[in-house]
């Protein structure tokens, strides 16, 4: 899944509260013993959109994978499994997908190959329009198109309602990895490409609930900033999970979120902090899951330095030997401990170990450790001399002072920067460390002619897909002016990218990808600081059969596709007593109707009206009284 935004990993956490005193009694049991059985999940990210084409953050992706199927799904270990298509076959540049017969959308309409063709065609149309016109056309936020483009898809056809034929430009397997939801043609075709595509203006199609899809749960109610509620899709073709409803809550405070998990108000949390995670390990009735992140945090150098109109502060930035020397002076183990509280791994190459099939460690000849002396020796050898005050000089004879910055959305990097300031200081390399507002930073790292490339070193991160393609993309020459924030340019690397994309033999592809990882490690446009862990936790008193995906280093929910939700089973025998809440009097209705009639806002205006009247009447009475008193005098 392309979550490879500039680490939309979570709105900065906003607030905190709630101390669980040591003396608290056993956790009160969760509410809602009666129908419907609700799975309450919490995340630090707020859902932003329901239109999959505008999806950016993980919460957006999670919502659309509950609503929709992808053409092919991801299995236990991210292998291709039936999704919207039941089976498939490849013959050179032609793929034939067999669509499940008798499948229905959640509104009862038949779901056929026409829908799949429509969804892919939407992307092809947008791409064609973009190529034909100079007005920069793209679908929504433009994340989903890359899957179809990278797979080299040129055409789709529907010989019969149960068969979809996809033609590609070159022989490859990437169509199986396409994170593209199959949308109901009978709903979406009412809207023009412009309406679906618009991320920014005009009258965008927002896909308001109730959503129609083939996924296991359908969005029925959305309160932006608060929660999104999904109801079971009775027409779902796959396994039916135990939960009748799934509610994903947004928390701006990780402390409140974990407190809600402890009290049983929610059953699952994503985005637990390191120290909270340690504490939760000892909490009875709660399981913790440390997942391996499919991503990393990196130091990106402005590798164009002060050349070509780029606004780096020194030419030394263009020298791989200089960058490698600085990399020797970073104690990554220390950063993992201090910044991540130990929940992560020191980083090496640009494909994280999550990709067990693709990740390689650096060759022994170029592998680095933490060694300040070695770093000093390397700098001396590369011709960076010290002046009388012990400051390193660049080739032009100016003292090197690097500006190190990071986005305010990732406040934790201030710790990294503080350490780096200390270590590089021992090399005679000065560090100016400061946080930059995210929008400003994006502008700063934009290269000429569109921007100034006004930075030296940036600390940020990326998150990848089940397939490594997107993580390899950012360092291509073609991406300078696009998603490249290091301006790394290496023809060998660029060629390898195209080779691996068109390679059907996994062994050869792995060799290409391995070589790409070595190249980047050797030239150090990026120093991968660490692979941070995904920290999740869940309660064991309401649902069972939590299944992690992938089997090693995975998490039960917020993975790839809706599998985790469908495997859940209820613990019905041990129905807990209701907690101290007035919920007892409520009479929830069956949810499959998906009516979304929970009337949260109904009474509020009345109350507000009442409040206002009381204030006015009260005020007037009080003041009147005063008036009459002074009259008497």
């Amino acid at each position: 899944m392309n979550r490879s935004t500039l680490r939309a990993r979570g709105a900065r956490i906003l607030m905190s509260a709630g101390l669980a005193f040591a003396a608290i009694g056993p956790a009160t049991a969760p509410v809602a013993a009666a129908d419907p059985l609700v799975l309450n999940a919490g995340t630090d990210q707020d859902l932003q959109v329901l239109n999959p084409f505008s999806s950016v953050v993980v919460a957006d992706f999670e919502a659309f994978t509950l609503n929709y199927d992808t053409l092919v799904g991801w299995g236990q270990d991210l292998e291709p499994v039936p999704g919207f298509a039941e089976s498939w076959a490849q013959d050179g540049n032609t793929w034939t997908f067999k669509i499940r017969s008798g499948m229905k959308w959640s509104d009862g309409q038949p779901a056929t190959a026409e829908d799949a063709a429509y969804s892919i065609q939407l992307v092809l149309d947008a791409t064609a329009k973009s190529d034909a016109s100079a007005d920069g056309y793209y679908l929504g936020q433009g994340y989903l198109e890359a899957y179809i483009t990278n797979a080299g898809v040129t055409a789709v056809s529907v010989p019969d309602p149960e068969t979809l034929v996809v033609t590609t430009e070159f022989e490859n397997q990437l169509i199986l990895e396409a994170y593209l939801p199959i949308l109901p043609k009978h709903v979406w075709s009412k809207y023009s490409l412009d309406e679906i595509a618009s991320a920014t203006g005009a009258t965008p199609y927002t896909n308001e609930p109730p959503v129609v899809g083939t996924g296991p749960y359908q969005a029925v109610e959305w309160k932006p900033g608060e929660f999104i509620r999904f109801a079971r899709n009775p027409n779902y073709w796959g396994l039916q999970g135990a939960a009748d409803e799934v509610i994903i809550h947004h928390f701006s405070s990780p402390d409140t979120m974990v407190a809600a998990l402890k009290t049983g108000e929610i059953d699952y949390v994503r985005g637990v902090l390191a120290d909270q995670f340690d504490a939760l390990k000892n909490e009875p009735g709660i399981e913790t899951v440390e997942g391996v992140s499919n991503g990393y945090s990196q130091i990106a150098f402005n590798t164009k330095g002060n050349t070509d109109g780029y606004k780096g502060s020194t030419s030394a930035l263009t020298d791989p030997a200089f960058r490698v020397a600085l990399a020797w002076a970073i104690d990554q183990n220390k950063l993992v401990d201090a910044t991540l509280g130990g929940y992560g791994e020191p980083g090496t190459t640009i494909i994280p170990p999550f990709h067990t099939r693709w990740h390689v460690e650096p060759d022994a000849s170029i592998a680095r450790t933490f060694d300040i002396d070695k770093a000093n020796t390397l700098l001396d050898a590369a011709g960076y001399k010290k002046d009388g005050q012990g400051r390193r000089l660049d080739k032009e004879g100016n003292p090197i002072v690097l500006r190190v910055t990071w986005p305010d959305s990732e406040a934790q990097h201030s710790t990294d920067a503080e350490f780096i300031q200390g270590w590089w200081g021992k090399l005679g390399v000065g560090v100016d460390a400061y946080v930059t507002e995210e929008g400003k930073l994006i502008e700063d790292v934009t290269p000429p002619p569109g921007g100034p490339a006004n930075f030296d070193v940036e600390i940020w991160g990326w998150v990848g897909d089940p397939d490594p393609t997107s993580l390899l993309d950012f360092l291509r020459t073609d991406q300078i002016g696009g998603s490249s924030d290091s301006f790394y340019s290496n023809p060998e690397y660029d060629q390898l990218f195209l080779d691996q994309r068109a390679e059907s033999d996994p062994v050869t592809r792995k060799a290409d990808i391995a070589q790409m990882q070595q190249l980047v490690y050797r030239d150090a446009p990026y120093i991968i600081l660490y692979y941070d862990s995904e920290l999740h936790a869940y309660r064991t008193d309401k649902f069972t059969n939590w299944t992690i995906q992938p089997s090693v280093g995975g998490t039960p929910l917020f993975g790839y596709g809706p599998r985790g939700y469908t495997f859940l089973q209820a613990i019905s025998a041990a129905t807990p007593a209701p907690a101290a809440s007035p919920d007892a009097g409520s009479t929830p209705t069956p949810s499959a109707s998906g009516s979304g009639s929970s009337s949260s806002g109904d009474i509020t205006p009345v109350i507000i009206g009442g409040v206002i009247i009381v204030v006015i009447v009260g005020g007037v009475l009080l003041l009147r009284r005063r008036g009459s008193v002074s009259d008497e005098e």
Partner: protein, 325 residues
């Protein structure tokens, strides 16, 4: 009351509102990062052409004055505040609209409670000036006044929610609940409202009590109160019949003036309790740099404060002819 007085006050409020709208416009143009960059944030593979196209679509290539300004005035006047950067496809008006109710509820009730408690506490302290009661009452007021709202909120959440588990930790209503009757809904609302409401009230009580106390102390030194006492009027009657009403007027009018200061605290209380109001929205918008929403919140809050002040002025002038000069 004189039409001139009312007219002058209204004109002054109108000028202030215009100034706010102007400031809002200027701030938007000064924003860090050019607007189209922020709009395109997170979009991979963005090309120079796309940026140019977007500038065109948003009218950012027009001259700032008069084209952009006139367009802005027209849009603002019709309640069109643009689109949220973050909640893509939603208008700022829609995003803000959903959040007004919860904030009004929490702070309307909070103000009422704080005024009632604060005025009573202040009046009593003032009446018993110099006694132990006064020291304790005034001391509590001072400490409450000195404590940031979010600290109060964190403490209450810690004790009553995660500690004793008497109250829920977040939100305004239980998500997804279907209520059998309005009473059920009210009960659920009250359950969620208790702690945030308590925080807001406690945060406000301090300043109202301090104000009321000094008002009372001052009033008690007035000749007519001394006279009333000398004439043998019972202390209780003097307090309720003379001192209190006279001390109330300035205090109550200060409530409106203080509204602007209350908002800062309000924002943090909402965030502590995940209360789905304007404060949480403002901080979320700030974090995500959702400038259109932030500007919308600013506009709404500023204009409300101006109007509240106007109302206070008018009521004050209506009741106390001396200020109508």
């Amino acid at each position: 009351m004189g039409g001139r007085f009312l007219g002058r006050k209204a004109a002054s409020a109108a000028i202030t509102i215009l100034a706010i709208i102007l400031v809002n416009f200027l701030l938007f143009r000064l924003m860090p990062g050019s607007p189209e960059r922020i709009i395109l944030r997170g979009v991979p593979n963005v090309t120079e052409q796309q940026r140019v196209a977007l500038r065109e679509r948003w009218g950012l290539n027009d001259p700032i004055f008069p084209d952009q300004f006139v367009k802005y005035l027209g849009a603002t006047a019709t309640g069109d505040l643009g689109y949220s950067f973050v909640a893509r496809g939603q208008t700022v008006a829609a995003v803000i609209g959903q959040r007004i109710g919860p904030t009004l509820l929490l702070f309307g009730l909070g103000e009422i409670l704080a005024i009632l408690i604060g005025l009573a506490l202040g009046a009593y302290s003032g009446w018993k000036r110099g006694t132990a009661v006064d020291y304790v009452g005034n001391g509590i007021s001072l400490v409450l006044y000195s404590t940031p709202y979010f600290l109060l909120g964190m403490a209450l959440l810690l004790v009553f929610s995660t500690g004793l588990r008497w109250f829920p930790t977040f939100g305004m209503l239980t998500a997804g609940r279907i209520y059998a009757s309005p009473l059920d809904l009210l009960a659920d609302l009250a359950f969620h409202l208790t702690l945030p409401l308590l925080t807001v009230s406690l945060g406000l009580v301090g300043q109202y009590s301090i104000l009321m106390r000094s008002s009372i102390v001052e009033t008690l030194s007035e000749d007519y109160v001394t006279t009333a006492r000398a004439m043998g009027l019972q202390d209780g009657r003097v307090l309720t019949g003379h001192a209190l009403p006279n001390a109330l007027l300035p205090t109550v009018s200060l409530v409106a003036i203080n509204l602007g200061y209350v908002i800062a605290g309000a924002i943090t209380v909402e965030v502590v309790f995940n209360w789905p109001g304007l404060g949480t929205l403002a901080v979320e918008a700030l974090t995500a740099r959702d400038y259109p929403v932030l500007q919308g919140v600013f506009l709404l809050l500023s204009i409300s404060v101006v109007l509240a002040n106007l109302l206070a002025d008018v009521v004050y002038g209506f009741l106390d002819p001396r200020v109508r000069t």
